[in-house]
């Protein structure tokens, strides 16, 4: 059971969150080429290891978080509010 350290609510069980996928993708300019948009919507690095991902704290503060988590070991390194903007890896 992951315990996700929500920066607002404190550490909470994963069951309070809705996972929302890869947080390293950047939405292109909406008028961009179809193919860029396809890359954004569909194509994923899907690493075995550290992964930046969105978790939506629906059962708590309803904030979208960016969580750095290891997909091989399920360790969690950090969690921050997504609204604080992108942060390069």
């Amino acid at each position: 059971m992951h315990r996700i350290p929500c920066p607002w609510c404190g550490a909470r069980d994963e069951s309070e969150f809705q996972y929302q996928g890869d947080a390293s993708v950047r939405r292109p300019n909406p008028e961009a080429e179809n193919s860029d948009m396809s890359d954004y919507v569909y194509f994923r690095e899907n690493p075995k290891g550290w992964h930046l991902e969105y978790w939506h704290h629906v059962g708590g503060c309803r904030q979208w978080l960016v969580v750095e988590r290891n997909t091989a070991t399920h360790e969690i390194k950090s969690a921050r509010l997504a609204r604080s903007g992108p942060e390069e890896r």
Partner: protein, 991 residues
């Protein structure tokens, strides 16, 4: 012997003053409080407990506790019937009823035991090689037979009447196992003020302490134990859980544990759970789960009477039961001698110890001086006897001399396996320790430590010290103790053990030597698997089923590896190990499921007017978690008649429908309009205050997501509505948009779904009724035109009026605060009385919207686009979510099925949702041209109508096709028409 008493005159933690009666296989027996079913039966001379899985061989107990593979019984009865329960884990209660299983007609005379005759052909993997001829025989014949023969006990045939629950706990320190080590760790940690939880599988704490005499800190075991337990139990910062098994170690060190709250009682006490699943999130975990003794592998080692030395010792010491009249012990280490001496002290005849080691150890000498014959370099070659053991053939490992001895118990002491199951669940490989000839496991994390026998430390004083240090270290890490860390850690010391688990089988010896008792896996099976190439340990497991029984190889795995290593000619640690998985011990599904079942499986959401609907005779339907009125049948009416009446009434006069479940979102801010502009496909910037607009949202991938009407209540306040089904998802989607995609916008919002309840008041008389309802507001067409919005009061309660219509009639949606719902409904029924107001449910609502050609969930199936649904023209030029992807060729192809209306040519024909459009009236091998998404028996159209998606879409209006429904062999000739059946010009809604 059966019937005679094996109860020792003294000893055991049983209460000899409280005699209990119980039943096994229809026969009555007596035992004592403190007995297990196993010990009580053994006391009564019962040794045959069950039949094995494949060969139906007779079996008795081998181990005490949760490692027992054989003595599985069926407990209780009727709806409480429980299969495969270990008799060794069942605490005796008065009136207990148990039966043996997997036998016919009786345990002693089991006809399926003929399988033993066929056993030369039932070797490991035989299934895969046979039953193939003739091909058509597998399912009807062979598989049926195999299935019937397989499985052990029988499930109950009625719903489980008992209640289960969960409890979450957050101790600072969790101690798993309350043997000497665990208790010492818990006591130490508790002294520092830490919140401590200590749990043990058994009702009696103390683990091995209950099996032997000795001293700790100068006190006899028993006194020390009582002191630890009573101190712990009186401390407020400590929770002691008995009858509680730790099941698994999950991510972030969450531990699941099962407390058998009521299994030692005939029935749970009122209001109490049968079992409780503890969901524990400790800061620190100390695993003090002890060690489990290993059997030895020799021919007929499965006969009732062959058991672990620790089991024989436990019977005598914990329950005051003699395992037999005359005992022979087979050992490869000192443990067997300690058992010999303990049993002898309890007054039991120990005839001999066969010790696999070549030289006499000190302990072996003690046996000798106690008058017990010790045969060195000797192992049992074979257990002798009929159904039960009557003797043993010993054989010298070097001399190869054999010696037959009479006995009724063969006690095996194959050394200890540290109980590493929990620690290795995470997938970490166990490590082989040559010194102790066993695997240990290193914890995966600093927050976990393993102590005592669980780590291969077998000296009791060292165990107690190890526990103490671990308790102190945990407290220190938590900042609760400032003692310095000791410079050296206690390490396991080497033990004197012969590295053999399998007795050599001289050529020509017949008979089976079992490794996995329950699954009937023999040493021969393992060698055969290797011969056939199933030599990887994981292949071996799956090909032979070694370690796959209900004990998950607690006894079998290491013995199996020894045979595998021998067959592969490799060292034991080099052949690898299979992966341990949770749960540590089989655990009821009910306990995992917890409290919520039946009607409370998921919470029910009730609208504010729920009671009013009940009074109006509503039949409810699930809409997600909501309950909504489906229809309101009058006495004698069936559903279809009621629906038609309701829909007709709306078109003719006046109806009212609860629409409170729609998702509602308050959106505020200077950028609110811009925000909506980005999430809806249509324009919002210019929507005037006091107006509503229909909006459509796409997913980012360009497909239809949701729709609803949204109103502008003030410049910077919009009121969004979305579908009941998508309310949660739409809010999440908007939160994504505002928090992640467009954080630059000055907009905030929150759900208002349950702040406002609402009804749709629909029908030509709705305005007349409304004018009577409101506290004087002007609701004329001029003051409140189509798509107009206004705020007023009803009986002094603030109300919002929306001139919107899903039904296609003149209609209003009226919102009032949730707490005024019943008042609103009552008032509407009063003012509507003169118009014969008719409450209508979701079914009539659906009929009306289909007549009007409005799309709903069946049309928004996650694959359709706005254009497919006829909404393509709403897509504005501006940027919005989903726009780019909606323009892909696959989503814009002209060949895509698009929304049409459909009606049967013959008005008698019925249309069904899920039918497909085809060109010709044949049931098969036809290209589907599209499908019917929604249908209604329309009072307005006097027959069935439907909406559907057809290749070519509205361009085909007027064409005749067929709607086929092969599942019912139906084929209906249809005409394609406009999806708007009623009032295509929209005169009524604007009227």
């Amino acid at each position: 012997m059966a019937g005679s008493s094996f109860r020792l005159p003294s000893g055991g933690a049983i209460d000899r003053s409280s005699s209990l009666s119980f039943e096994f296989d229809g026969k009555s027996y007596r035992g004592f409080q403190g007995d297990t079913l196993a010990s009580a039966l053994m006391a009564n001379g019962v040794r045959l407990f069950g039949r094995s899985f494949k060969y139906h061989r007779p079996r008795g107990i081998i181990a005490l506790g949760s490692a027992e593979p054989n003595a599985l019984v069926e407990m209780r009865g009727d709806a409480r019937r429980e299969p495969n329960i270990q008799a060794t884990m069942v605490e005796l209660y008065d009136g207990l009823v148990a039966r043996s299983q997997n036998r016919f007609p009786s345990l002693r005379w089991d006809v399926m035991a003929v399988n033993q005759l066929a056993s030369p052909f039932l070797q490991a993997g035989f299934y895969y090689k046979t039953f193939m001829w003739p091909a058509s025989f597998w399912e009807p014949v062979y598989e049926k037979l195999i299935r019937r023969a397989a499985g052990l006990g029988r499930a109950a045939e009625a719903p489980d009447p008992d209640h289960y629950e969960h409890t979450h706990a957050h101790p600072d320190v969790l101690v798993i196992g309350a043997g000497a080590t665990g208790l010492s760790a818990a006591t130490k940690a508790a002294e520092t003020g830490a919140r401590v939880m200590v749990l043990d599988e058994h009702a009696a704490l103390g683990g091995w302490l209950n099996h032997e005499d000795g001293e700790i800190d100068g006190a006899p075991y028993k006194a020390w134990l009582d002191r630890q337990v009573s101190t712990l139990e009186t401390k407020e910062n400590v929770e002691v859980l008995k009858r509680t098994s730790a099941l698994g170690l999950y991510d972030d060190n969450m531990v699941l544990a099962l407390e058998r709250v009521s299994d030692h009682l005939p029935e749970p006490l009122a209001g109490c759970a049968r079992q409780r699943l503890w969901i524990i999130r400790p800061q620190k975990i100390i695993v003090a789960a002890g060690a489990i003794e290993r059997p030895l592998t020799f021919v007929n080692n499965d006969k009732p009477g062959v058991m672990l030395a620790s089991a024989a010792q436990g019977l005598a010491r914990c329950y005051g039961v003699a395992p037999g009249k005359r005992i022979i012990i087979a050992t490869n280490n000192d443990g067997g001698h300690r058992t010999a001496l303990t049993l002898q002290q309890a007054g039991i005849d120990v005839a001999a110890v066969a010790d696999a080691r070549e030289t006499l150890s000190l302990c072996a000498e003690e046996s000798q001086s106690a008058g017990i014959a010790v045969h060195t370099a000797t192992m049992p070659q074979k257990a002798l006897g009929g159904v039960e053991v009557s003797g043993v053939r010993l054989r010298g490992l070097t001399s190869e001399k054999t010696l037959d001895l009479d006995c009724d118990v063969i006690a095996m002491a194959g050394g200890l396996n540290p109980n590493i199951q929990l620690l290795s669940q995470g997938g970490k490989r166990p490590l082989w320790q040559e010194d102790i000839q066993a695997f240990t496991a290193e914890p995966s994390d600093d927050a976990i430590s393993t102590v005592g026998a669980c780590r291969g430390i077998y000296n009791l004083a060292a165990c107690v010290e190890d526990g103490r240090l671990a308790g102190e270290a945990a407290a220190r890490d938590l900042g609760l103790s400032s003692t310095a860390a000791p410079s050296v850690r206690i390490e396991p010391s080497a033990i004197d053990i012969a590295p053999v688990l399998e007795a050599p089988k001289p050529p020509g010896t017949r008979g089976k030597a079992f490794v996995d008792f329950q699954n009937d896996v023999t040493a021969g099976d393992i060698r055969l698997a290797v011969q056939e190439g199933y030599e990887s340990v994981e292949h071996l497991k799956r090909y032979t089923t070694l370690g796959m029984a209900t004990d998950q190889g607690k006894l079998a795995n290491v013995n199996g590896l020894a045979v595998l290593a021998d067959a592969r000619n490799e060292a034991l640690p080099d052949v690898g190990v299979t992966r341990f998985r949770p749960p540590y011990t089989p655990t009821s599904i009910g306990a995992f499921a917890g409290h919520h079942r039946g009607k409370t499986y998921q919470p029910i959401r009730r609208t504010a007017m729920h009671s009013a609907h009940e009074e109006c005779g509503a039949t409810f339907v699930e809409a997600g978690q909501w309950l909504r009125p489906r229809y309101y049948a009058r006495p004698g009416e069936d559903m279809l008649t009621a629906i038609k009446r309701e829909a007709t009434a709306v078109r003719a006069s006046l109806g009212v429908c609860d629409v409170s479940t729609l998702g509602k979102i308050d959106v505020f801010g200077p950028d609110a309009a811009e925000f909506l502009n980005r999430i809806y496909i249509n324009n919002w910037l210019k929507l005037p205050v006091g107006k509503a607009r229909y909006g459509v949202m796409l997913r980012e991938d360009g497909h239809l997501f949701d729709d609803g009407t949204t109103s502008r209540l003030s410049d910077d306040h919009f009121f969004v509505t979305c579908t009941t089904a998508n309310a949660g998802r739409v809010l999440a989607h908007m939160e994504h948009a505002s928090q992640v995609l467009f954080p630059e916008l000055d907009v905030v919002f929150c759900s208002a779904t349950e702040q406002w309840c609402g009804v749709a008041l629909a029908g030509p008389n709705s305005r007349a009724a409304l004018s009577k309802l409101v506290d004087g507001a002007d609701v004329s067409n001029d003051a409140l035109p189509f798509m107009g919005v206004t705020e007023t009061t009803i009986e002094g309660v603030p109300a919002r009026l929306f001139r919107i219509s899903f039904s296609g009639e003149l209609a209003y949606e009226i919102n009032v605060p949730w707490g005024a719902g019943n008042m609103l409904w009552r008032r509407i029924m009063e003012v509507g009385a003169e118009f014969d107001i008719t409450p209508y449910g979701t079914e009539a609502l659906s009929v009306l919207r289909i007549e009007k050609g409005h799309i709903a969930g069946s049309e928004i199936d996650g694959r359709t686009t706005a254009a497919d649904a006829g909404l393509g023209r709403m897509m504005a030029k501006k940027a919005f979510i989903g726009k780019a992807m909606a323009n892909r060729p696959g989503l814009t192809a002209a060949s895509r099925p698009a929304l049409v209306g459909v009606k049967p040519i013959s008005t008698h024909d019925r249309l069904r949702g899920g039918a497909h459009f085809v060109a010709a009236p044949k049931a098969r091998e036809q290209e589907s041209l599209g499908w019917v998404s929604s249908t209604a028996d329309s009072p307005a159209m006097k027959g069935w109508i439907g909406l559907g998606f057809l290749k070519g879409g509205t361009a085909r209006i007027g064409e005749r096709l067929f709607a086929t429904y092969p599942l019912k062999d139906e084929m209906v000739e249809i005409e394609i028409c406009s999806p708007i059946f009623v009032d295509p010009e929209g005169e009524r809604v604007r009227g």
